[in-house]
């Protein structure tokens, strides 16, 4: 039986990990992730959940311990944010390179300096090329569901890639809202036990994991990840449908989610919680007879190029919101990639909500107004103080 509780995004993620029956957790606290690992610690302390919890001394060690545990053949979980994710950077490549289906919650937070504990996407965007699948959830319900789905995707034998579920710091991590919590047995039946075939450390079958990747083999290992990322698109879509069949919830087609796209001439493209605020504005405008659409990118990696092209066919004004910047190219990462995806379209890129700058409905309205007037590719900062 599903039960609804009013909980934060971090608690939702912790419950997701518990439902997924993870066997080893290795984590280090960091704002705004901490509640997630605290809730897990409490589950274990109360005897509600029998996972091994390694209270490591850094995020680098958190990822290293997850790699060690995953390579031994158990389901693992960790959570981090910002500086913690940056500290893990080197290990992220190793997790994907070794094809370990580790699942991680990243509570999106800006990077120092100056130190800032609030939301933007710079931390996870910086890790976009690490070979991790990245899912950006829009609310607490999706956070919980995505953690469960993440294991199904990561452990698929055609994929074997780690998955990062990204949720907006504070905006989701510290906000309570009603979340439907799936039945534990149902989730466990759905996911089963993780029993890797490709690799596990076992004296009865001694293998060597993480050898020297000489020039004769290294490129192939990269191509393998490339191919797995491509296959992941299919698997993510399939898991989205499976999940709908069993738990009655789905998120677009798993990769992208459209809102009010029919007959919309103007469409905003965004990721994460801001999509809620955009929807709010779209509904308001609709009352006034104005038609604006939203295309939410749910999986930033793999990047759903084909779906985007298809869904934005015929759309004239495409505005891309970025909660990150690429200094020197002077666009946001999503803006750049949308430009590459829709080569024949006018793309306007909006840098918004860095370091916790609130993105208000009037900011969204300003973007729409600008977008409709804008004639060429342009990047604009929104919400900047004069």
């Amino acid at each position: 039986m599903e039960k609804i509780d009013v909980i934060t995004g971090t608690t939702a993620a912790a419950i997701g990990a518990k439902l997924a029956n993870v066997e080893v957790i290795a984590a280090y606290p960091i704002t705004p992730q901490s509640e997630c690992v605290e809730v897990l610690a409490k589950f274990i302390a109360d005897g509600e959940f029998d996972a091994e919890y390694i209270k490591v001394e850094s995020e680098h060690s958190a990822m290293a311990a997850c790699i060690g545990a995953s390579a031994t053949g158990v389901r693992t979980f960790t959570a981090t944010a910002s500086q913690g994710l940056a500290l893990m950077h080197e290990m992220l490549y190793i997790a994907s390179g070794m094809r370990l289906p580790i699942v991680m919650l990243n509570t999106n937070r800006a990077l120092s300096a100056p130190i800032n504990i609030w939301c933007d996407h710079q931390d996870s965007i910086t890790e976009r090329d690490t070979g991790w699948i990245q899912i950006y959830a829009k609310d607490n319900q999706e956070t919980l569901d995505s953690i469960i789905q993440a294991y199904r995707i990561a452990e698929d034998e055609d994929i074997l890639l780690p998955v990062m579920v990204c949720i907006d710091g504070f905006i989701l991590t510290h906000t309570v809202e009603p979340v439907s919590i799936p039945d534990e047995k149902k989730v466990r039946d759905y996911l089963g036990i993780y029993e890797p075939k490709h690799a596990y450390l076992d004296p009865d079958r001694p293998i060597t994991q993480g050898p020297v990747g000489v020039p004769e083999c290294y490129m192939e290992t990269r191509k393998h990840i490339w191919d797995a990322m491509e296959r992941a698109k299919k698997v993510i879509k399939r898991v989205n449908e499976e999940y709908y069949e069993i738990f009655n919830r789905r998120y677009g087609n798993g990769l992208v989610e459209g809102y009010n796209l029919e007959n919309a001439d103007t469409v905003l493209v965004a990721m994460g919680s801001v999509c809620g605020t955009i929807r709010y504005v779209i509904d308001k405008l609709k009352e006034k007879g104005k038609n604006v659409g939203l295309l939410r990118i749910r999986t930033y990696r793999p990047f759903p190029k084909e779906e985007i092209k298809e869904m934005l066919e015929g759309v004239e004004n495409v505005g891309v919101l970025d909660r990150n910047v690429s200094f020197g190219f002077n666009m946001g990462a999503l803006g750049t990639e949308m430009l590459a995806t829709l080569r024949d379209k006018k793309i306007c890129n909006y840098i918004v909500g860095l370091g916790g700058r609130d993105i208000t409905p009037s900011n969204i309205e300003e973007i729409i107004r600008h977008l409709e007037k804008c004639e060429d590719v342009e990047t604009k900062w929104i919400g900047l103080k004069e």
Binding site: H198, I207, Q209
Partner: protein
């Protein structure tokens, strides 16, 4: 074909790599002088010294790199060295 994750499934597969070709000097074990103290056996970095079915110690020249630790450490001077000729 490169394996997924570059995992090596064949334990001890370096045996394919015959490092005997690295040798400049060749240790030669005189079984008559050998007291089977196992000193050369345990100190060989290659594990190239082995005990045959008769309990005699032998040097596997497929792998011996000619470091001569065995010769140096042998308490009875049972292992001499000769220049490798190729």
């Amino acid at each position: 074909m490169v394996t997924i994750g570059a995992i090596i499934y064949e334990p001890g597969s370096t045996v394919r790599n015959k490092t005997g070709s690295w040798r400049t000097f060749r240790p030669v074990l005189n079984s008559e002088k050998c007291i089977k103290c196992e000193i050369c056996y345990i100190f060989c970095p290659e594990g190239a010294i082995y005990e045959d079915e008769k309990g005699n110690f032998k040097i596997n020249y497929d792998y011996c790199k000619g470091c001569l630790i065995c010769s140096k450490e042998c308490p009875t001077n049972a292992i001499t060295r000769i220049r490798e000729e190729k």
